[in-house]
Symmetry: C2
Subunit: 422 residues, 2 copies
Amino acid sequence: MVVGAGFGGLAAARHLAHGPLEVVVVDRTNHHLFQPFLYQVATAILSPGEIVPPIRRIFRRQPNVTVMLAEVTDVDLPRREIQLCGADGARRQLGYDYLIVAAGARDSYFSHGEWARHAVPMKTLAQAVVLRDRILAAYERATEVTNPQQQRRWTTFVIVGGGPTGVELAGQLATLARQLHRDFHRIETERARIVLVEAAKQLLASFAEPLRDHARNKLIGMGVDVRLGSMAVNIDEDGIDVQAHQGATERIRAGTVIWAAGVQASPLGRLLGDASGAEVDRKGRVAVGPDCSLPGYPEVFAIGDMVDQHDLPGMAEPAMQEGAYVAKLIRARISGQPAPGPFHYRDLGTMATISPRDAIADVFGLRLSGLPAQLAWAVVHIAFLIGWGNRVGVLSRWAFDLVTRSRSERVILAGVSGADTR
Amino acid sequence: MVVGAGFGGLAAARHLAHGPLEVVVVDRTNHHLFQPFLYQVATAILSPGEIVPPIRRIFRRQPNVTVMLAEVTDVDLPRREIQLCGADGARRQLGYDYLIVAAGARDSYFSHGEWARHAVPMKTLAQAVVLRDRILAAYERATEVTNPQQQRRWTTFVIVGGGPTGVELAGQLATLARQLHRDFHRIETERARIVLVEAAKQLLASFAEPLRDHARNKLIGMGVDVRLGSMAVNIDEDGIDVQAHQGATERIRAGTVIWAAGVQASPLGRLLGDASGAEVDRKGRVAVGPDCSLPGYPEVFAIGDMVDQHDLPGMAEPAMQEGAYVAKLIRARISGQPAPGPFHYRDLGTMATISPRDAIADVFGLRLSGLPAQLAWAVVHIAFLIGWGNRVGVLSRWAFDLVTRSRSERVILAGVSGADTR
């Protein structure tokens, strides 16, 4: 039984497929979400369908895999049962021999839940589509108002959080502002203000310093207002209050505030912790043993972003390696072979894009920036994207957008105040 | 001033562009909707972005055109002013010299407004996306239930209305059911039941009889249960009651009921009628003069689906011809040239697809069916689609889907009971 069809769950299920086991994959959505491309959906480059292969299609040729669209609401470890809530709202119990929980992380506003109403997160596909609506509608609203201050407010975009998501969004928003220029006759979209707010003294903490500097300089060169050592202290309908390190608080009036700062583990992290007695950290991540299993329950594993074991970054690669490892462990146990040693993460590096022609990459000890990094980024990500149709689709979108300096998916689904959604 | 960026409004604005006038295009959405492809979005073939070019992009190179995202809430004909409600909810007045209203039609449940909660319409892009969610989720639900009757219910799809929209949807749903077969291991999707309910004695009333027969036979051959002379007498959560001509009422239990039966004109039709004294028919369409103008207001025109003048079918072609005609009329008046004679519709024929390899077409007196009609359909529709990017995108989707017998956009945005949409 695998809970969650993200990078970790999918890797586990794939490595268990074609085997003697019956594998059940449970997810709240019908698709695997390729999170690294989420910002490209939010900025109108890719269509939602292109980054979300249906889970059923992935396991089409693996008859021992059953896919269920449901949410896990409870786990009974001693009885080896999980409780599911399906789309019909009905709850049912399902037993397991082995359980792999890979439910990932979601956005977290720390102790400021009220910010959620004003700062848009970007962890799920639906959120990315909402964010796209918000960004495109902000430019429309800027054309409606005549007051220059209001116009400025609607063309101001503040991103909270200078990790890969924040940096990639900032770069794309700056590019989008320049590209929209040709379509708007009344406002100067290229003068849109993009502000990137990061509490730490640097962007992209997981990268080497030369690459961090490259990214920051590049963003500044694109006109992004990068605020390091700055905290969001208040977010409301009108904008955001930003406080520089022990300094004064500045009000930035903004029509769009994007939350790329905090994540917390799926509630299943705490649930597993409470059920097994394993520790749960303040981000809701459950502590697992060196073989990714829960203390006292060698048949239950937790992997990916919801786990606090190796202090690994919340990225696809560790989750995938953990998934493959756990699958190998289970197969060894079933066939009576010796179990593999403790899980060890092989660091393959990290990458982030800054603009359509620039990126940074830290792979195999090589530090790349500019076009070479961008090419490496594209090759790796296209390779990890699932399905040839999606690969061809994404590549042709990129090619088309690069040639026309334009965007394909600029639809505002909600229309005027949701008027035509009914 | 042009209200509505559908086929009629767009044609009018395009023919007025590059001229001496200042043209304002007002629409409730930021995009032109290519309605003929709407059913392909609902059945997961095309992405929403591919059929909706942003209005601003269409008029990118026409600096005399201003685009506004707003809803028209009132018209003051004597003062030559319209009242707009923008995305911010604020109302404002806008004056005009000439007004072209092309606000189209929307779904209508006649006197059964309560059916709207259960029967999904398909007139706007947002509705098509909701319908796609419903169709794909129905198969997921079928896998959840164990009761065979419930399973049958979730794999039953009833379409009310046998016009082009209903026929095209029925054909695509039958195809989709066969294609999903490979992805679902627990249910036999190819045994899904597609029911097409039409009150008249025939499908596709606007086509010649041999073509109508071809379409009906083809649908029946694909397994569609075609019910002619049958009325929907009740629609609720569980399904639909269908009454054959003066016969008994039959209950069809269905997880998805799709409304492709009735449309009514935009409320602006009645508004213009009340303001000018022009007649308004029971579908809310306003009667206009032979030059498409309102009685007593030669500077106000109404065109397209919201007009009852020539008893033309609610299709793109008449609306486009009317738009071009009105633009020509206005240009003639401004330049002091003699006005053109009354509007005359040049009938270019109609077409409809039935399956990926079959269609019917009635063009220039030629009656085509099968592959030749399908090719004619594809050529004409790709030509009328706006933007080379969209044309290339749609063509490559079709090619890919034809080769892989699959669908690209199978995302259920809402997830489990909207769990991850927040």
